[in-house]
């Protein structure tokens, strides 16, 4: 398998993509244990990037009327309403005695809130499959769509193992989070991280964020929050590590995240090989179809 065919096969995607003087790779660490579901990130993202509205319909589930990431939602806050035996929202912010007898128990529900975003994968399937070069790797190691080059073929949409990128119905072109490429260029942090009041969304050099995340998990485990876990932080996961990773308090699928995403182009050499063999067998069986009748006719004549 030729590794250099792919965008970013190593751990330094910006340099792999040809940025020789790339700054350190940056990313998001979203600590959902302190998310309060205020949606400031969603709003800040919309405002800064001038994203159109999603429509004013109610989803009829939870208090989340955005539903998920899409062409016009680059940050999405999930509201997970879970029936639990104790009804306790297991956060260290709440003292155990108070939580046990608190108002949460009366409803028997716990709330998990989590701000989702494009993962800016180290091995990005959307970027690999884009036929126009519209999707590109920035010097910061992030993945961005160029609006003027995207031709609306839509192949990046099903390629994304996280279901992030989407075509805008009115336009046909694909849109997603740019990690505020314009702000990064000006030395600023992305709008969502800037607006987050609880530091649930942390922005910075990816290495630093991974260290910080490891400390935070340890801290939560020590505080008895055993269900705290990191998601997308491993540099050797199915997508080569996420540029945006998370601290979750339940299984990833509960938040609408895939439990084991794999970059789809990983199997591409095998796919091309099988397509080649299939093409040859098509040609072979066609040839056979001309040879067989000729042979049987000759036999019949004898």
């Amino acid at each position: 398998m030729r590794d250099d065919l792919y965008s970013g096969t190593g751990q330094d995607p910006a340099r792999d993509a040809g940025h020789t003087n790339a700054p350190p790779r940056v990313g998001f660490f979203t600590d959902t244990s302190v998310c309060i579901g205020c949606k400031a990130c969603e709003v800040a993202c919309k405002e800064w990037n001038a994203i159109p509205e999603d429509g004013l319909t109610l989803t009829g589930m939870s208090y989340d009327n955005t539903g998920g990431l899409g062409a016009s939602t680059w940050r999405h806050v999930a509201f997970v309403e879970q029936p639990t035996p104790s009804g306790r929202t297991m956060l260290p912010l709440v003292e155990p005695d108070r939580a046990a007898g608190g108002p949460a128990e009366a409803t028997g529900m716990r709330w998990l809130m989590s701000s989702d975003v494009c993962k800016h994968c180290t091995h990005a399937a959307c970027l690999d499959v884009c036929p126009t070069g519209s999707l590109f790797r920035t010097e910061f190691g992030t993945v961005v769509v160029q609006e003027d080059i995207c031709n609306g073929c839509g192949v990046c949409v099903p390629a994304c193992p996280y279901g992030v990128i989407e075509q805008r119905p009115t336009d046909g072109r694909a849109f997603k989070c740019t990690m505020c490429y314009d702000r990064l260029g000006a030395g600023q942090e992305p709008a969502c991280a800037k607006a987050c009041p609880t530091e649930s969304i942390q922005f910075g050099p990816l290495d630093e964020l991974r260290e910080r995340a490891a400390l935070r998990v340890e801290q939560l485990h020590d505080a008895g929050v055993t269900e705290a876990r990191l998601y997308g932080h491993e540099p050797d996961n199915g997508v080569g590590g996420d540029g945006a990773f998370f601290l979750l308090l339940d299984e990833p699928e509960v938040y609408g995240l895939p439990p084991d995403p794999v970059v789809t182009t990983r199997d591409l050499p095998a796919m091309w090989r099988h397509a080649g063999i299939a093409a040859l067998s098509l040609a072979g069986s066609a040839a056979l179809s001309f040879v067989l009748p000729a042979l049987t006719r000759r036999k019949a004549r004898r």
């Binding site: 046909g172 699928e253 182009t265 099988h274 179809s289």
Partner: protein, 308 residues
């Protein structure tokens, strides 16, 4: 305020309120499944046309060249229609990118299209026979790739019913393309020239059954997306039409013009149903989060068991 949990789906352990984990392609079935079918018909048709040309079956050869040109023209139109604006198509040829099946396909289409066009025009007009022969050869060499690359286009996605069978799908597409082209040859060629088409129809039907069985075995629980709903109906119709077409071609294809034409049309319809069925199965698998989460959970479980 307590939410009315009786009417809202619970945020269960399997997915976020039952919402899909990945995004289903927003491609219209008519455009993209149609593109799959027409590309297969054109590509495999060029191969049969070259064979017919070589063995002196000139009527069939000319008819197949014209059908391939028509099919590739329509498939390009379908692709451009899916982009929304024709002015967006040239961006497809901005880069040459082997990691993008769509890019490879666009280049393939822009090489195959003119070859198929020249082959058809030379054959229909009877002029420039040497150029016609060269174009026929070029189209026949590119045709098989055109027929199978679309399987990679579908499989190189996170869509469970497509990616899960990335090894098997090219063979299913090759078989389906051969079925369509042999069907076209039976429908348009004279009786005394259709022996190879009958043989190809039989081979295609056998390969189709084998490839589909391999697909369903590989997919395990996701295989239901090929068996239920719209995809199930289409795949059952495809199986029946292909079997009936191949049987009709082998048993009666050399005796009656009407039988040959009927068998040919059944094979064409069978191939179209296969492509639309595969497309529908993909959409169904992307829309149900269980098909994304289930196999991935198993993969995690396998890995944990392995590392222990």
């Amino acid at each position: 305020m307590t939410p009315d949990t009786s009417r809202t789906p619970a945020a269960g352990p399997d997915s976020y309120y039952g919402r899909p984990v990945i995004k289903a392609p927003s491609w219209s079935a008519q455009d993209i499944a149609g593109y799959f079918f027409l590309g297969g018909l054109a590509g495999a048709g060029s191969v049969l046309a070259a064979g017919a040309q070589l063995t002196g079956r000139t009527t069939t050869a000319t008819a197949l060249k014209v059908s391939s040109l028509t099919a590739v023209g329509l498939s390009a139109a379908a692709l451009i229609h899916d982009l929304g604006r024709p002015s967006r198509f040239p961006n497809m040829l901005r880069v040459f990118k082997p990691t993008s099946p769509m890019s490879m396909g666009s280049w393939l289409l822009s090489a195959y299209g003119p070859a198929a066009g020249a082959a058809a025009l030379c054959a229909a007009s009877g002029r420039l026979p040497k150029a016609g022969a060269a174009a026929t050869t070029a189209a026949a060499l590119l045709g098989p790739a055109l027929a199978t690359y679309t399987a990679v286009l579908a499989a190189d996605t996170a869509v469970p019913a497509w990616h899960g069978v990335h090894r098997e799908l090219p063979y299913l597409f090759a078989a389906s393309a051969t079925g369509a082209a042999s069907g076209m040859a039976l429908a348009v060629g004279p009786l005394h020239e259709n022996a190879p088409a009958r043989c190809a129809a039989a081979l295609a039907a056998l390969a189709d059954v084998a490839a589909l069985r391999a697909v369903e075995r590989r997919l395990d629980t996701v295989a239901v997306t090929y068996q239920e709903g719209r995809a199930g109906t289409l795949m059952r119709a495809a199986r029946a039409l292909t079997a009936a077409g191949a049987a009709g071609a082998v048993l009666f294809g050399h005796r009656s013009r009407a039988a040959a034409a009927g068998a040919g049309l059944a094979l064409l319809a069978g191939s179209a149903c296969t492509r639309f069925g595969v497309f529908a199965a993909g959409i169904a698998s992307a829309e149900d989060p269980a098909h994304t989460v289930g196999p991935q959970r198993e993969a995690v479980a396998r890995r944990t068991a392995h590392s222990k």
